[in-house]
Assembly symmetry: C2
DNA sequence: ACATCATTGTTGTCATTGACAACTTCAAAC
DNA sequence: GTTTGAAGTTGTCAATGACAACAATGATGT
């Protein structure tokens, strides 16, 4: 009889990351309400209590997902920055790149983005998440400061300006992900143009 | 013996709205995860299945909360519009009023706002919610069109401009509600100013 | 008046879930 | 080699959402 050949070794070896990616798939496909630790365990071929070794809580799993999301979003924004650096130093083009990256992430990871900004994380994790948001704003801040140095951006407290710009990006991404907006690209261009030139006639 | 005096009549009479307001309080105080139909029933002094008569689903309750939230938000924005009409017709002041109303709502009803924009509603309700968002954008749209008529706003597709402005308001409100931003008022002023005048030096 | 009947509430039950406790397997460190 | 601790397992519990079957109430039509 061959039944004593364990399909998988006793120790899964990679359970934590398997749980995370499985959770993210479920989140994207069936929403946050469909997330169940026990179901994740079943999918991973592991007992119902195994996830408890890696995540104290269901909330801990969600926290980890959110943090991971911020890391990837940040990487995406920084990638947009780096690819820009090789071309010219046009602040508007740079902002457009950032906006595209942010919106792209929002469209591809709508449910995850919700989770990232959900107001229900453990207090210490909330600090980390706040820091992650701070990092993102810092990227915008860099652009603003650079733009101010080259004279492409008006003077004024760069932090305030960065906050305003980040707000716009976030709001646009959030809206675009929610409603079924067809011409995201065009709208996005218009938003960046508007941000740069303002609403008042010159 | 007095025990046959029913504390409450068999028919609660107002259960639906009691459930809704109780749910909203719980939502605000303990987050969406703490919402339990059974607990709401207990608080209302009613059996555990009674809520089922008014809400097919837990999701149906959440949908109702979200719709109600949009109605109140819209009323608040329209109130801002009416109080403005009595003073001058300065588009910037009007936008500032709208922004204050939106942010005020976001700060007072953070968890509810999350729910309103959550991507997990029943499909037909989603349509109603999308319509609600459309109504809100329409309010902004009015302002933009008026501003264009008085020459205070640049020309261009008003819908696109309105979408951009609404995005900014929403993003700012969402950010302000999440992070612990101290000087919301100042930042808000700066955002509206920035929207009006743009980022480029003139 | 009064029978009917839809509404709203009730009890009972079920499968699922998150959390925890107690036990086992394995591998690495000493 | 043994000890020790991380990772996985079974077993159990209370809470929950959903549903079915039944009861009370009040409105409607004649």
């Amino acid at each position: 009889m061959l039944e004593d050949m364990p399909d998988r070794p006793y120790h899964h070896g990679d359970l934590r990351s398997v749980l995370l990616s499985s959770a993210e798939r479920t989140l994207a496909e069936r929403g946050p309400g469909a997330l169940s630790l026990r179901e994740l365990a079943r999918e991973a071929g592991v007992s119902h209590a195994a996830p408890g070794r890696h995540f104290k809580d269901k909330q801990a799993l969600l926290d980890a997902l959110a943090l991971d999301g911020f890391q990837r979003l940040r990487a995406s924004l920084e990638h947009a920055k780096e690819t820009r650096d090789r071309s010219e130093t046009d602040t508007r083009a740079y902002l457009l790149g950032l906006a595209r990256a942010y919106v792209g992430f929002a469209l591809s990871n709508a449910a995850l983005l919700d989770l990232m900004y959900a107001r229900k994380h453990d207090s210490d994790v909330s600090d980390q998440l706040a820091a992650a948001v701070g990092d993102m704003i810092a990227i915008v801040l860099n652009t603003i400061s650079e733009g101010q140095r080259t004279g492409e951006i008006i003077e004024g407290d760069p932090m305030t300006i960065a906050f305003a710009v980040a707000s716009t990006l976030h709001g646009f991404a959030s809206f675009s992900a929610n409603e079924t907006v067809e011409d995201v690209e065009e709208n996005l261009d218009a938003v960046v143009r508007l941000l740069m030139t303002g609403l008042e006639p010159r």
